[in-house]
């Protein structure tokens, strides 16, 4: 029997010990009206060999061309050691470290992870992860409303430059708690929030202001001014960041005069495979004085009975298994294994390595933009500084162009026209450190061909 070790003899001994004749007798408390018929809808079982064949066939349908899509998930190189180590059974098959003495491996990994996230974001306290970037932002919004003692408001400013999917998820999660998400517009010459245009949001109290960096369009927000503006209204500033970008960009903890209060974001760029969207992990950090409002698991350093250093889950009185209906969140299981991978990934890259990755992504995207905008009719949608991702206007509908690029082995970016029809046909493109110059040239050639036919590239 697959995965079940019992021999017939053992089965009989066990039944005899219990005092029933057949296993079926153990289900005699289930009313007969509820007993299931056979599971006709399920296929018969298969061995690992047949399964492997099936899954290889399925996987072979999912070959992917060179990926120039970012939009919240990025095709970075993941060192071989990351997943070789992460899938060791001692990490892979452990659970939440409730028994600290038997979980020092996982607990120390989380403590190291907390340190790394604290360094990247410039805020003291990190939790042990949330589900993904979007749910991390939702939890940050809930936390800010809870934590803001100066402004008893449930209004949160959510700019349109935040990832549209994040905005949707936040809406789903906070909707039933009476929290009002106020949409702030963007300046569509530069693709970022216009700090000058925020005056009209000053009349009613705001609990928090969400500030993405870089924003969904890859544009760099005026984070210092926005943070100070939020604090001037006694609102908390919530940063949404790409952790790879933070190798180069000012960390949220240093934004404006006093720093953002909460930072969160998608952890996928730190060693997590794209994998059609998950599992990834969300991260969250905050100032020391707000740590008791953080949702999720937190690991602290302490000592054992002999005075030796050890690690343990701490501040558990915030959590659902202790506080039940008054907990800071309902989160229980988080994305532990992904955090293990991210910690190993960051250890392998180190400060210099992560900076190089970030810089290479940015340079590759600049090269891409340079080559694509040389094609007639292709231009940047926005002026202004960007990091690692750029929206481009194209002179033909994106849903016609993208399949033609795919036929040439290029995933040519995200079609923005579904979400932002007011700008006409546009692609959000990104080239990480893994995209080669040859692939970038292939993209440019394919786009030129798709738009203008062969050899009709204008000034490239």
């Amino acid at each position: 029997m697959p995965f079940i070790p019992h021999t017939e003899e053992e089965l009989q001994e066990m039944l005899e010990a219990i005092g029933v004749e057949r296993i079926e007798g153990l289900f005699d408390e289930i009313p007969s009206s509820l007993r299931s018929a056979s599971l006709e809808g399920l296929a018969p079982g298969m061995g690992e060999m047949a399964l492997t064949r099936l899954m290889r066939t399925r996987a072979s349908r999912d070959e992917q061309p060179a990926c120039f899509i970012g939009a919240g998930a990025y095709d970075h190189h993941v060192p071989a050691a990351v997943w070789e180590l992460t899938t060791r059974g001692e990490f892979y098959s452990a659970y939440t470290p409730y028994q600290a003495e038997a979980s020092q491996g996982t607990l120390q990994v989380i403590y190291e992870f907390q340190t790394m996230m604290s360094e990247l974001t410039g805020l003291y306290a990190a939790n042990a992860s949330l589900y993904d970037g979007a749910t991390a932002l939702a939890e940050a919004v809930l936390m800010a409303v809870r934590a803001n003692r100066k402004v008893k408001s449930k209004r949160v400013l959510m700019p349109r430059t935040v990832h549209p999917r994040y905005r949707e998820v936040v809406r789903t999660i906070v909707a039933n708690q009476g929290i009002e998400l106020i949409e702030a517009p963007l300046d569509d010459t530069v693709g970022r929030i216009d700090p000058e245009a925020l005056g009209r949001f000053e009349d009613e109290p705001l609990a928090a202001v969400v500030i993405p960096q870089p924003n969904f369009f890859g544009a760099l927000e005026e984070v210092d001014r926005l943070t100070d503006w939020a604090h001037g209204l006694n609102a908390l500033a919530i940063a949404v960041c790409n952790p790879v970008a933070l190798a180069l960009l000012t960390p949220p903890g240093e934004w404006g005069s006093n720093g953002a209060d909460i930072a969160c974001g998608e952890g996928q760029p730190l060693g997590i495979p794209l994998a059609s969207g998950g599992p990834y992990f969300g991260f969250m950090t905050t100032r020391k004085d707000l740590v008791r409002q953080l949702p999720g698991r937190i690991v602290g350093r302490t000592v054992d009975a002999d005075g030796r250093t050890g690690y343990t889950l701490t501040l558990q009185a915030r959590e659902q298994h202790i506080r039940r209906s008054k907990a800071t969140s309902n989160i229980c299981t988080n994305q532990g294994l992904m955090v293990t991978a991210a910690t190993i990934h960051l250890a392998l890259l180190g400060t210099e390595g992560l900076s190089r990755v970030a810089a290479a992504c940015h340079e590759h995207t600049r090269e891409l933009v340079h080559k694509l905008t040389a094609i007639e009719g292709v231009e940047r949608l926005f002026d202004g500084p960007f990091f690692h991702e750029v929206p481009l206007r194209i002179p033909a509908p994106a849903d016609e162009v993208l399949p033609r690029l795919a036929a040439e082995g290029v995933l040519g970016g995200l079609d923005l026209s579904t979400e932002f029809p007011e700008w006409g046909p546009a692609l959000l493109v990104c080239a990480t450190e893994t995209r080669t110059s040859e692939e970038i040239d292939r993209f440019a050639a394919a786009l030129s061909e798709a738009l203008h036919g062969s050899g009709r590239r204008a000034h490239g």
Partner: protein, 481 residues
């Protein structure tokens, strides 16, 4: 030793970063950080050795019997892991066109159908990323249902006192008040108290069946009828589905919405605290509200259903498509089990629990509900041992670690004093179960002989008992040079 303490300035794993450092001068200075983040500077070997050694400080299913009640710590088949980590699955971008994802979407679509069949529900969405998020989706759907009917006066969710903490926490997140229902002396819901609590203010009830006290809720049909009569809905917490897989289905019991923990029943890894993956299933009544996205099949082609297809959905709960890689593992596991294997899961997990309960009772331990069958788990109360020998649940738990057994769930559910919630799962052999009984008996002997020594356990682990009070009072959440 922390990875930071191994770090030496200027050392790095050279194979792991782009060779040259391109200039980042194109970024305006006002956006650039002034001080680089302090990350470890270590070689590849140092990294590999450090994390290999750390892993060795963990108990996992792969190393130890791990009878953590309500967590279903069963073997996670390596074949499922390898299948999910095929390169084409790993490399696919979540926003890549559906044409390049027909393989993974076929798996997800089939898993949706198989889980609906196993639970007796009309449809399943796999976009929720853990049990607690599945609970959230479930209660949010109950709310959406009442709201759509203009039935807005329902403010309460009923939750048994033995429920997981996530249940009441979820009800609060959905804007409901929580009303607790006591558990009767036989382990079932106290029907009198339950009936008194149900009324026009009841939005729904959250139940786990088999329950968290390790028994099958025998009057579930009556409970369902009562709640439905009052206009409320029933939410099924699937934490314990393992015990009845293929034997009884929540849909047939009258539940309107369910969540499943794929990392429990469907054997995806627990990963030191996740990732999990939740499935949510609904009956016809709640179908319009299912979270998006989910996969539909039309003429042999798979596509994602989104808000455009499901205008009444409660919405989206994840940035992309849920914990896809975990779904692939669950799919692979279920394909290997097949219909016979699925039923065997319930049979042998229930067999193991009842055998272990019988042996522990014979050995003189007190079982919380001796007149009942165990589901796939059961509770031992160490109240007697605590009173007579001074050895409480924590002492037994810590000493079990010394003897090579991960402790069962401790002090939960709270309504049973000195509770150990024990779930052996179907993948453990009789030899392991017998060994666990011997360990429990030995610990009781040790308590009689030298209680102070027992209170000092564990002795054989990387650390002894940790000072939790110090951890909370003198917060140290990150390393500082």
């Amino acid at each position: 030793m922390l990875i930071y303490e191994i770090s030496r300035k200027g050392r790095r794993a050279f194979a792991q970063a782009p060779a040259a450092a391109p200039s980042s001068d194109s970024l305006p200075r006002r956006f650039r950080r002034q001080r680089p983040p302090q990350l470890p500077e270590v070689s590849e070997l140092e990294t590999v050795r450090h994390y290999t050694r750390l892993s060795q400080k963990n108990f996992g299913i792969d190393t130890n019997f791990y009878p953590l009640g309500s967590c279903t710590m069963k073997y996670n088949p390596r074949g499922a892991n390898r299948a999910a980590m095929l390169p084409q699955f790993l490399e696919r971008h979540p926003l890549a066109p559906e044409e390049t994802g027909q393989g993974v979407m076929a798996c997800i679509h089939e898993l949706q159908g198989e889980l609906a069949e196993l639970t007796g529900m009309r449809a399943v969405s796999l976009s929720v990323m853990a049990g607690a998020q599945g609970e959230f989706a479930g209660v949010a759907m109950i709310r959406a249902y009442h709201d759509a009917r203009g039935d807005t006066g329902r403010e309460e969710i009923l939750v048994p006192d033995a429920a997981h903490g996530t249940n009441p926490a979820t009800a609060t997140m959905c804007g409901y008040k929580v009303r607790e229902i006591p558990t009767g002396a036989d382990g079932d819901v106290d029907m009198e108290a339950f009936k008194a609590a149900v009324g026009p203010q009841t939005a729904g009830i959250m139940l786990t069946n088999p329950s968290t006290v390790g028994v099958f809720e025998r009057r579930i049909e009556e409970i369902a009828a009562t709640v439905h009569e009052a206009g409320g809905l029933l939410y099924y917490d699937g934490a314990n589905l393992n015990a009845i897989l293929g034997k009884a289905r929540p849909g047939d019991m009258g539940f309107d919405v369910i969540h499943l923990n794929l990392h429990k029943t469907f054997s995806t890894p627990h990963g030191g605290g996740g990732p999990g993956a939740g499935a949510v299933g609904v009956n016809e009544r709640l179908l319009p509200y299912l979270p998006v996205p989910r996969v539909a099949e039309e003429a042999g082609r798979y596509r994602w259903l989104t808000e455009a297809d499901c205008p009444e959905t409660i919405g989206r709960l994840c940035t992309f498509n849920g914990n896809t890689g975990i779904l692939l593992r669950a799919y692979a596991y279920l394909r290997m089990l097949g219909r016979e294997g699925a039923t065997r899961v319930a049979e042998y997990s229930t067999l193991n629990a009842n055998y272990l309960m019988t042996r522990l009772r014979e050995a003189g331990f007190t079982v919380a509900y001796p007149q009942r069958r165990a589901s796939h788990e059961f509770i031992v109360s160490l109240k007697g041992e605590a009173k007579e020998l001074g050895a409480n649940v924590m002492d037994f738990a810590k000493r079990l670690l010394d003897l090579g057994y991960h402790a069962p769930t401790t002090y939960f559910p709270t309504l049973v004093p000195e509770a150990l919630l024990i779930e052996p799962t179907e993948t453990e052999s009789k030899r392991e179960l017998d060994g666990f009984v011997e360990a429990m008996v030995r610990i009781r002997e040790e308590a009689r002989e030298d209680i102070d020594s027992l209170k000092g356990a564990p002795y054989r682990l990387p650390v002894r008992r940790l000072d939790d009070v110090k951890a909370a009072r003198e917060l140290n959440l990150r390393w500082e040079a």
